[in-house]
């Protein structure tokens, strides 16, 4: 069973979802929780069985799918993907457990379980096409969740979300096909296996074009400025569960893909584009933080804050050294936990008041002190306070990029200031001051269900902030091998210099020689 644990992880929720059609409406919630829990336990088992000392892929599975075109059902996890998978199962569990939605709950839970399949699939796939399949497929359940359970503009938001990301990923698909074609030219065989592609050294000008093609797909997903405008709509209209999953997991697909594809496949292009992308990342960080500050809707604040944080992740990724990339992978998890929690928290107040406008609130700290406390903890985590999960990631990202550029890091570091500004002012507007709005006077504090969702997140946010080692160590080992691979493959002297040389060598086929 351990040999096929990834397949099990991917398809168990889907299978359960199909069986779920049989379950009656009243029991659906319990069923959903049970399935998500089993899935979560399975993913924990994956972690338990994972050997952190091995930097390469583990639990590999391979099955020919379309061998004539080099497409295989190829799965595997390394330190980079392992924790995002666990995060996915964790958040599905949390999301279902803390669901307050009552409209057509059964459909929602089935959709969520399908979504879980696609999420785990994306992070476990090692074949570009299989990756692409799950990547695209994840749009569908999300489309439905936003479009069916969302706010008044839900249809606009969902279609925008879908088409925007769809467009980007189609360009990415062209890139993938190109990559496969290059591989075919170099070796005479079709292959979409990422691991096989890793062995290929492309001429720099090809790298640039391919990088750009992949970039569009990833950048829209992340979303990077100026492709980010679908996100506020999606978050603004999505139901709580949709926002939680979107922010916690789906956005990570983009940043994960940068680490999985762009960096090791195109080391020279990564170096070439490092500064332009860093500048985009800085724009994301500062500009969206400013936009977040101007928001009147608390959910939009969190939504824009996501973009801002994703900027830090991108910056860390393109630090192209172990510190930065490890940091960015860690920050993916951290941001998942924190933004997921923040969206859950926004959902809590939305359930009570059916509004998200900050002007409607004020003084909630005295009415709902426990809520205010947890919100405060998560806000501080979002701001990146040391000993919370976000700090580790942000610190490493900035630290890593500092090696590449002092000035840009200094500018990007403004993140910690502007982040504090919008978060604190939003918190102040919502929780501080006197209770002026009559409707807020008798609000109930958190209930059991909500605790169930939030407490684990608080624990994780602090636990991994204080003791990130169990997670950081496997990440570090895998990232080291990625960086080493990049260094070995890099051709231009600048790239060789920018990407640090670690020890150990991987086998590589230079494309020119294979011709």
């Amino acid at each position: 069973m351990i040999d096929h644990i990834l397949t099990l992880l991917i398809f168990f929720p889907a299978l359960a979802a199909m069986l779920g059609f049989v379950v009656t409406k009243d029991s659906m919630r319990a069923y959903g929780i049970a399935v998500a829990f089993i899935e979560f336990v399975l993913s924990l088992w994956l972690w338990y069985a994972y050997d952190p000392m091995i930097s390469g892929m583990q639990f590999m599975e391979s099955m020919p799918l379309i061998p004539a075109f080099g497409i295989n059902y190829l799965l595997g996890v390394d330190g980079i993907s392992l924790f995002i998978i666990i995060l996915s199962t964790f958040f599905t569990l949390i999301g279902i457990a803390s669901l307050t939605e009552t409209r057509r709950l059964k459909d929602l839970i089935i959709t969520l379980l399908f979504l879980e399949m696609t999420m785990v699939g994306v992070f476990a796939a090692l074949d570009a096409i299989v990756f692409y399949v799950f990547w695209e497929l994840s749009l569908v359940p999300m489309l439905y969740i936003i479009g069916a359970w969302g706010g008044p503009l839900r249809i606009y938001a969902s279609i925008k979300f879908f088409l925007y990301t769809f467009t980007g990923s189609l360009v990415m698909l062209v890139g993938m096909l190109f990559m496969a074609y290059f591989y075919y030219q170099a070796t005479g065989q079709w292959s979409f296996s990422i691991l096989e592609w890793y062995r290929l050294i492309l001429p720099e000008n090809f790298q640039l074009w391919l990088f750009a093609a992949f970039f569009l797909g990833f950048a829209i997903k992340v979303p990077m400025f100026p492709f980010h405008t679908w996100l506020p709509y999606a978050h603004g209209q999505a139901p709580t569960i949709g926002s939680v999953i979107l922010a916690a997991i789906l956005l990570k697909m983009g940043t994960y893909a940068f680490v999985r594809f762009s960096l090791p496949l195109f080391p020279d292009a990564s170096v070439f584009f490092m500064f332009p992308i860093a500048i985009i990342a800085i724009i994301m960080i500062i500009y969206t933080a400013m936009v977040a500050y101007a928001q009147e809707d608390i959910k939009q604040v969190v939504a824009y804050s996501s973009v801002s944080h994703m900027g830090v992740i991108i910056l860390g990724t393109f630090a192209l050294n172990v510190e930065g990339v490890s940091g960015s992978v860690f920050l993916m998890l951290a941001h998942g936990v924190v933004s997921g929690a923040l969206f859950l928290l926004v959902g809590v107040i939305y359930d009570r008041r059916h509004t998200k406008m900050m002007s409607e609130f004020g003084g909630l700290a005295s009415v709902m002190p426990r809520y205010a406390t947890i919100f405060g903890i998560m806000m501080m985590a979002s701001v990146g306070l040391p000993l919370t999960i976000n700090f580790v990631g942000e610190f490493l990202c900035l630290l890593g990029f500092y090696k590449q550029s002092h000035m840009l890091t200094l500018t990007a570091g403004v993140a910690i200031i502007v982040g504090a500004i919008y978060m604190l002012s939003a918190y102040k507007k919502m929780f501080f001051g006197a209770v002026t709005n009559e409707k807020n006077k008798n609000l109930k504090d958190l209930n059991r269900t909500e605790y169930l969702g939030l407490i684990p997140l608080v624990i994780v946010a602090i636990w991994l902030g204080v003791y990130p080692k169990p997670v950081l160590e496997p990440i570090n080992n895998s990232v080291e091998s990625v960086i080493q691979l990049m260094h070995d493959k890099a051709q231009s002297p600048e790239a060789k210099a920018r990407i640090p040389d670690l020890s150990g060598k991987n086998e590589i086929i230079p494309m020119q020689e294979a011709h």
């Binding site: 925007y164 500050y293 101007a294 490890s326 426990r370 630290l399 102040k428 929780f431 501080f432 080692k469």
Partner: protein, 628 residues
């Protein structure tokens, strides 16, 4: 000894967690008692460690790994050496006193338990800050105290001004923290480590320019925490918090973290004396600058806060000039008498129902004898009258300035000393002497609880006698810090200087007493003095907060709005939508091609054919032309 270290470190955390367990429930006396008890435990452990360290040992432990990736290795490591143990003593003494005091002070507050939770958490963060053996750990404490400061300034969160001040403090500190963070990055990428011992042994090998930048960035961090100009405005506003908080955080401990950082990083600053001069100059400037604002202020706590700011300036002068042990000594002495002063002010506030304007008080010495004595003595100490603590530490700084031939700095500091004496006793005189103006407002003042006064007494004692520890202290810390001696050449000069300073200060005190001890009215802003330019300038803090408001806060908000409404929605998003709309509109506009009329359809086919044929012919003609 490791056990004591952990007890000293974690006892406050336990207290905080214990208090937070009851955070939501109404006041429980035991929370205060337990928290104070744990703080006392921490103090005892610190004291034991002190005696151990005085024996010439240090304790260095590594609790566990924090971050490890690539070449980066950051443990939770703690060190108790001669410097940190001094800080630990200061922190634990003052915080124990403040904790006990707070049991009385927060007696009637709904957030009693929450208060203790925050307060103990602060002490824990402060302990992490001073005990950490690396820069990252220092940064944890650094941000931790910032967080607790935020929570405590905004403790009365119903008050708009309090929450505003809390956010201001946090954000301003964050600005400085960015500098610190950059300093840490520089250190890491140049020395490969963040451990003090590694860094300090490597630092000499770095190019001077790098060291200079490291020094500058670290100092930017220190400027924020220690509220040095231009990041000083938050400190006065932070007085919105409960007074024990002001005593502990914004007088005795947190604000001195910047000084501690410079002292701790002395091997770095030793290499870059130019930066040191800058630090000293800035310190001197702030000393005078803050003192001047204190002169006319009508808010008791703000006056003390400015005085704190001014004294921090003194410390930076010492630190900047390389007299690290002097800076640390003043830090210690200042912590005692300033905390005492604040706690006294707290008593007054309680008595006056949170009235802060000293002009509305007067004659309180009759009802609040204990507080009167304590505040007077604390002010004496602050003014630096022999043999109180302030004399030993502050005069030393003056001497340092003199000996190092920085006469401008010396003069400024001397002048400031006079001003300090003046405003301190202006305050004392207005509060405790003169007519009982509070009667106009129908207030019936009363003395604080006895145990609060008892709790304050250790501070009083220390404010009086701390100077006598000078030699012991000196021997202790100079085993770690550079052993710099400051002896004014010629005994005569020394005596003239010392006595001259004393006389100058006493004169200022007398002048203040003369002017204010018989005050009998509440100024209403109509007097000539109050309308003079200088007065207005000072009472508006040189218009700096207003300047910040107009130049940074408002434009930032405005810019943010523009970024959102004009740029994000109207340009970025509209571009995306317009592409989609353009495609859709094209469809709308061209769908009439399909008008359902068979004739049109046939014509389209014929047109298509004709176009194809003409293209074929055109191509042929062109092909033949090229071919021929």
């Amino acid at each position: 000894m490791e056990l004591y270290l952990y007890i000293a470190l974690f006892a406050p955390l336990v207290g905080s967690l214990y208090a937070s367990l009851f955070g939501g429930s109404p006041k429980s006396q035991h929370v205060g008692i337990v928290a104070s008890g744990l703080l006392f435990t921490s103090f005892v452990s610190s004291a034991l460690l002190l005696s151990y360290v005085m024996g010439g040992h240090t304790v260095h432990v590594e609790l566990m790994t924090w971050m490890e990736t690539g070449d980066l290795y950051i443990p939770f490591g703690f060190v108790v050496d001669q410097v940190s143990v001094v800080m630990m003593m200061v922190v634990t003494i003052v915080s124990t006193v403040v904790h006990i005091y707070s049991i009385g002070y927060m007696d009637h507050d709904k957030g009693f338990n929450r208060f203790f939770s925050w307060l103990s958490a602060f002490v824990f963060s402060m302990m992490v800050l001073v005990m950490s053996d690396n820069f990252a750990g220092l940064f944890i404490g650094w941000e931790g105290v910032g967080l607790c400061s935020w929570g405590l300034i905004g403790f009365w969160y119903q008050k708009e001004s309090a929450t505003w001040a809390a956010n201001e403090a946090f954000i301003m500190n964050r600005i400085a923290d960015l500098g610190m963070l950059i300093g840490i990055f520089l250190i890491y990428w140049n020395t490969g480590s963040l451990q003090y011992d590694v860094v300090f042994s490597e630092i000499g090998n770095l190019p001077l320019v790098v060291t200079t930048w490291i020094g500058i960035f670290l100092f930017i961090g220190a400027m924020g925490k220690s509220a040095q100009f231009p990041l000083h405005t938050w400190l006065a506003d932070a007085m919105e918090g409960p007074t024990p908080v002001s005593a502990l955080i914004h007088a005795a401990t947190m604000v001195t973290a910047g000084v501690y950082l410079v002292v701790r990083a002395n091997p770095i600053y030793d290499l870059i004396p130019n930066v040191g001069i800058f630090i000293a100059s800035l310190g001197a400037f702030v000393a005078l600058f803050a003192a001047s604002m204190a002169l006319v202020n009508r808010d008791m706590k703000r006056i003390i806060a400015y005085s704190t700011l001014s004294q921090l300036g003194y410390m930076f002068v010492a630190a900047g000039l390389g007299a690290y042990w002097v800076a640390l000594f003043h830090l210690m002495a200042h912590a005692f008498f300033k905390a005492l002063l604040f706690l006294g002010a707290g008593n007054v506030m309680h008595a006056m129902h949170d009235e802060l304007d000293p002009f509305k008080m007067g004659g309180l010495r009759k009802v609040m004898k204990g507080t009167f004595i304590m505040m007077t003595l604390a002010s004496v100490a602050l003014a630096g009258i022999y043999p109180f603590a302030g004399f030993f530490s502050k005069d030393l700084i003056l001497e340092v300035g003199f000996v190092e031939h920085h006469y401008v700095i010396y003069t400024v500091l001397l002048l400031t000393a006079g001003l300090t004496a003046f405003y301190s006793f202006r305050l004392v005189a207005l509060i405790f002497h003169g007519e009982e103006r509070y009667k106009l407002f129908g207030i019936h003042p009363h003395e604080a609880y006895k145990f609060m006064l008892v709790a304050m007494s250790p501070l009083l004692l220390l404010a009086i006698i701390a100077g006598s520890f000078k030699m012991t202290y000196y021997q202790l810390v100079t085993s770690l810090l550079p052993d710099t001696q400051y002896h004014v050449h010629g005994e005569m000069t020394y005596w003239i200087m010392t006595i001259g300073t004393q006389l100058f200060v006493i004169a200022a005190i007398v002048f203040a007493y003369k002017k204010y001890s018989n005050w009998n009215s509440v100024p209403d802003g109509s007097s000539k003095l109050e309308n003079s330019f200088g007065y207005k300038l000072l009472s508006n803090q040189y218009y700096i907060p207003k300047f910040y408001e107009e130049v940074f806060s408002k434009p930032y908000l405005e810019l943010s709005r523009i970024a959102w409404k004009q740029f994000d929605l109207k340009i970025v998003d509209a571009t995306v939508d317009s592409i989609a709309n353009a495609i859709y509109k094209t469809g709308e506009n061209t769908r009439d091609i399909q008008n359902g009329n068979l004739s049109t359809m046939l014509r389209w086919m014929v047109i298509g054919l004709v176009v194809l044929v003409s293209l074929a012919l055109a191509f042929t003609v062109g092909y033949n032309a090229v071919g021929a």
